[in-house]
Assembly symmetry: C2
């Protein structure tokens, strides 16, 4: 068998997240079905991590072991002709058998896209979160600066019971920028807690709307307790942007 | 009653076109349902024209008569909160009772969007037509120039039986330009034949792929007969862009 690193983009809107579950459509499930059709064998697709229902990816990474007789150059084209158009292999690279998409990941970057205007254009409704009140991006940037770095992010996970060992994470990047009517949050870390990016986005949107001052970021962090002050922003604005190795 | 001119954007992917039909979801049907809920009355929505199943709009125009007690400033917000997120009122203007969205339209502009790269990104799959072979835009521009102007477009309609009186139309604009991996066709006329824009796009894509020389445009026009040389490009790349009055 030959191990491949694959980069996958998907529109998660109609899928029940990444991970295979019985009775529902998932990204991993569609990929495994596709590779089964391609090879006639049972192929397990190992992702860098899960994404939730409705969350998208521009650069999810996974590894798969495929029979060596498959010509590498043909894999992308053959897989993309079998996959639903909402899922696409963007890149396929032969890697050493020791490569592991989850364990070898050094950092991940997520991007959260907010449409900040009175009306959300219909063709963006599956891919953007709508904030119709003008967002104060400077205030969001101040709050983001306070959240950047090594902290206990217990207050920014949707389910504290899911915390294994520690909620300390090094958020190496948390930026907010405006591009016209769009406000984009980028978050990079070696690892995220459950729904951490959507919790950070939910908090930053509240700061941008003037509901909370940027300095609240420090107070919330130090409380180490999830409260209603931090909402979980909806999934459709979130993209797993890239995974670095 | 007060007459309003409304500008509507929609994602047509999941709709059976503009026009109300029994038993299926249509754009006009959703709008009429929304205005019925808003006013408690039967409201007819008169569009500038139909769009086919799967075709989108950035600037469809319609007129509606609403009870004068509805505050104009609230109509957009109220309607958009009732409409599915795939349909949005973008603008509402009070107009004279004589205004008619179809009869008063002076010209319409359609845009046809082609994604010209090996892989079509999943989040664009409902809104772009995929052409993976590199398109020769200069050749498409030459062909477009030959089609611009006043001609009998019998060869560029999907159903010649639908031609009423004459197939002569003045195609005042037919341009092709590349924006990175995207190729955009813009077509403007005082009136189009049935599936004329998709037929023009289908022909121009074939020219761009090198299947036909640009000069073929003149020959096809002069034959005044639809043949298999001109395919109808798929609906998902097509947007009714604007209607002028």
């Amino acid at each position: 068998m030959q191990r491949y690193k694959i980069i996958i983009a998907y529109d998660g809107f109609e899928y029940s997240g990444w991970q295979v579950q019985p009775g529902v459509k998932t990204i991993q499930g569609e990929l495994e079905k596709c590779f089964h059709r391609l090879t006639g064998e049972t192929v397990k697709v190992h992702g860098s991590g899960r994404t939730d229902q409705g969350v998208h990816a521009a650069g999810q990474v996974a590894h798969v072991d495929l029979p060596p007789h498959l010509p590498k150059g043909k894999i992308i084209q053959a897989a993309n002709s079998l996959l639903p158009s909402a899922i696409r292999l963007m890149k396929v690279d032969a890697v050493k058998a020791a490569f592991h998409a989850r364990r070898d990941a050094v950092s991940k970057e997520y991007r959260y896209f907010i449409w900040n205007a009175a009306v959300l254009p219909p063709c963006l409704c599956r891919y953007r979160t709508h904030a119709y009140r003008p967002l104060d991006v400077a205030a969001m940037q101040k709050a983001a600066a306070l959240l950047t770095g090594r902290h206990d992010f217990s207050a920014f996970t949707a389910n504290p019971k899911r915390i294994v060992e520690s909620a300390v994470r090094n958020l190496s990047v948390l930026t907010v920028r405006r591009r016209g009517r769009e406000v984009v949050i980028a978050a990079r870390s070696e690892g995220f807690l459950y729904r951490m990016v959507r919790s950070l986005a939910g908090f930053l949107i509240r700061v941008g709307q003037g509901d909370l001052p940027p300095a609240e970021a420090k107070k919330i962090l130090s409380r180490k307790l999830r409260t209603a002050v931090v909402p979980t922003a909806p999934p459709q604005g979130l993209f797993l942007w890239r995974v670095d190795y």
